[in-house]
Symmetry: C2
Subunit: 426 residues, 2 copies
């Protein structure tokens, strides 16, 4: 029965029952965490043998003869460039292999733009009165954090089932020269798990921004992170940009954080050769090289894209059941109540749910009081302000299955309580 | 006999003899490199067993129970903070453990100051009309590169045998609010190998800059890099600043680049707790964590400062003979000619020599033509301009001894030829 069709007495009974079950959980003093897209310990275990790849007997020369232990080789060892070029479907010359964090590659790209500008900038962005970014939302909180941190004004663009609202994107970038970029997670988007449609990617590749130094920040964080045997597919943005002659418009990012180790993976950036040349000049002041031993460790371990894919199959086996558990619980507990909607993702790290208007904060609060930490409500929007207070990001990968089961039970109870409270107050 | 006391005929004969020997070397088509302070392959070999420290069977929890493989712990794992705190003689709470490059910690510190300011800044430095840095010279070319890269005006301060000319430093910083910092390599300075005297350190700790957000960039790159059994000693800048109440004025940097691996070491920054708090807020937008597995690898391997010191003894055994070879050749070939002066360093990675005025570029050019690459003449000065064209930085660590012997022979011949040319032209 739909909750909104209950009368007051029914609603109050429903709420009381939910609260009773909720209080029982609360009494257990649980400490459960579904806040961040962190791999579980079992996922980290499957890559432990990577640590045996290089040992005291290893040949430490990379394929061009460079000793990876020593200084030098700013943009990455050749075999690492090849591996990531294969993963992203680009030319190895378009690759910069970074340190352990794609976040820092993105932050540094914005920081360089602020202090130096990008290729085509008339002046560094920090010398402009105003810099704005388009922020498809809900989106990745750390993208928005970078903007806020640099005083970049964020303009929210609604997400649709095929990606950002491209009518709005096209209109805004063509009119406003102060709009210098857009954040995209084009595959298994954070948090919605949506993959941009072919049309969306083509429209991105065909954008005609008023700002000559506009950049699409294409955070392809989940490019090989499938959850099913019928994964989504994403058009290659650089292939499309080749057709439109707009390859300079894109900065692409990825990493092995959720392939090998989040704390010690290898990050990568792809961009046109002209962009790479501009970046390299400044990057050479910041780094002599990133960690080349870790780059070599990764290439010797994975060997090629097939090696990465095989590892992702192992990850899938561990986390697909967690997604299934959460989706099953949501369906079972809330499917007939009409108080929560969600999208079943084919990959990525999140399940994004939408409560009734004005209930997300309350749900997160109720969860917290019962020992379940969720990403803060609103975090998926610029300035942490969800205009309708509806979106909650569930990250099911970190807790073991048994804990996750309890956590999602509590979550469902919290949704029931918050929804009943809302309907009773109307 | 002093070259300047030779008559024209003697000089011409001397030059012809030197050229004959030089041409013989040139005919060999050698490829030798004394350009950068790179450890030799034999130095890298002595740390290869570090790669066995962590393997697939290792406990990957650090001492507070954190799984180092996963996300989190922005400023470093506790045991790494302790190790580097011991090395630098500061409180672990003053430590940020970084990635593989202290250069990037320094660059990022300047970049943050440009876009956000440092603690006490009224506005980000990029919003100021002018930002200036004091640059003791000769100094480290990459420090100067960072300044040039950010459009920071460099003011050269002469080096003396006890450190930078402190009369000049004190006067300039007290008068000019646009002077926001100074670069220092206080121990075994790059390139001169000078260690700042106690008085110099005390005067630094007692500076009263007009700019409230002035910072001393204390690049303690060679803090444990001794070449003799009677090493230099350096006062602890933070101890001195505690006495003057000016602990916020210092950013200290170091790394294991020349302790473990240049390409895959661990870098560290030390600063007052108030500075760390300001930095951490912005750093948290750039990084979730640096590579914690590599931090753990380093701590499990070195264990403590004694472990680091033991490793530095091994390095010393390998590189002290190279320094001895170079210094011996300089003395033997040039000691009585009065055309070159140098300082015998007790540590660090360089031998800094001074030619007759106007000869450094010519010496570097002659060396290059005979296949010996040196750091470009002038590189040790702001804007790569050595006002007297005198200073050359010799980096003896990278070539094997046999190659080094040839390289320094060629260098001495180049000095002889260039000096004779100069005296003949007078």
């Amino acid at each position: 029965m739909l909750l909104k069709e209950m009368n007051k007495a029914q609603l109050e009974e429903f709420k009381a029952e939910s609260e009773k079950a909720y209080e029982a959980y609360k009494a257990k003093g649980l400490k459960l965490n579904m806040a961040r897209g962190k791999p579980g310990a079992d996922q980290l275990d499957i890559t432990m043998d990577m640590l045996d790849t290089l040992n005291s007997k290893s040949d430490m020369k990379c394929e061009d003869g460079t000793d990876v232990r020593n200084y030098g080789v700013l943009t990455g060892i050749p075999e690492a460039k090849k591996l990531f070029a294969e993963m992203l479907g680009v030319d190895p010359e378009m690759i910069i292999v970074g340190g352990n964090a794609s976040l820092s590659l993105m932050y540094d790209s914005i920081a360089r733009a602020m202090t130096h500008g990008v290729l085509g900038s008339e002046k560094p962005w920090c010398k402009l009165d105003k810099v704005k970014f388009l922020c498809p939302a809900p989106g990745y909180d750390r993208h928005f954090g970078i903007c806020e941190n640099f005083g970049i004004e964020m303009i929210t663009v609604p997400m649709t089932p095929t990606g950002p609202d491209m009518d709005m994107v096209e209109k805004l970038v063509s009119e406003d020269e102060s709009i210098k970029g857009i954040w995209c997670v084009p595959m298994y988007s954070n948090p919605d798990g949506i993959t941009y449609s072919d049309e969306t990617v083509k429209r991105f590749a065909n954008l005609s921004p008023k700002a000559k130094d506009f950049r699409i920040f294409w955070d392809n964080a989940y490019c090989v992170h499938h959850l099913t045997d019928t994964p989504d597919t994403l058009l290659n943005i650089f292939d499309e940009c080749k057709k439109t002659g707009k390859e300079d418009m894109v900065f692409e990012f990825a990493s092995t954080s959720k392939i090998s180790f989040p704390g010690a993976g290898v990050a990568v950036m792809a961009a046109s050769k002209a962009n790479i040349a501009q970046i390299e000049k400044i990057l050479g002041m910041q780094y002599i090289s990133y960690d080349k031993i870790n780059q070599l460790r990764h290439v010797r371990y994975f060997k090629n894209l097939d090696g990465i894919k095989a590892k992702m199959e192992q990850h899938k086996k561990l986390i697909a059941p967690k997604f299934a558990l959460v989706l099953g619980s949501l369906e079972k507990e809330l499917g007939e109540l009409g108080v929560l909607t969600w999208h079943k993702p084919n990959g990525g790290y999140f399940i994004s749910v939408y409560t009734l208007n004005g209930c997300a904060k309350r749900v997160v609060e109720l969860c917290k009081e019962a020992g379940v930490v969720l990403t803060g409500a609103g975090a998926t929007y610029p300035y942490k302000k969800d205009p309708e207070d509806k979106n909650i990001r569930i990250a099911p990968t970190f807790p073991p299955l048994a804990e996750l089961e309890q956590a999602i039970d509590i979550f469902c109870l919290a949704v029931k309580i918050a929804s009943a409270e809302k309907l009773l107050a109307e």
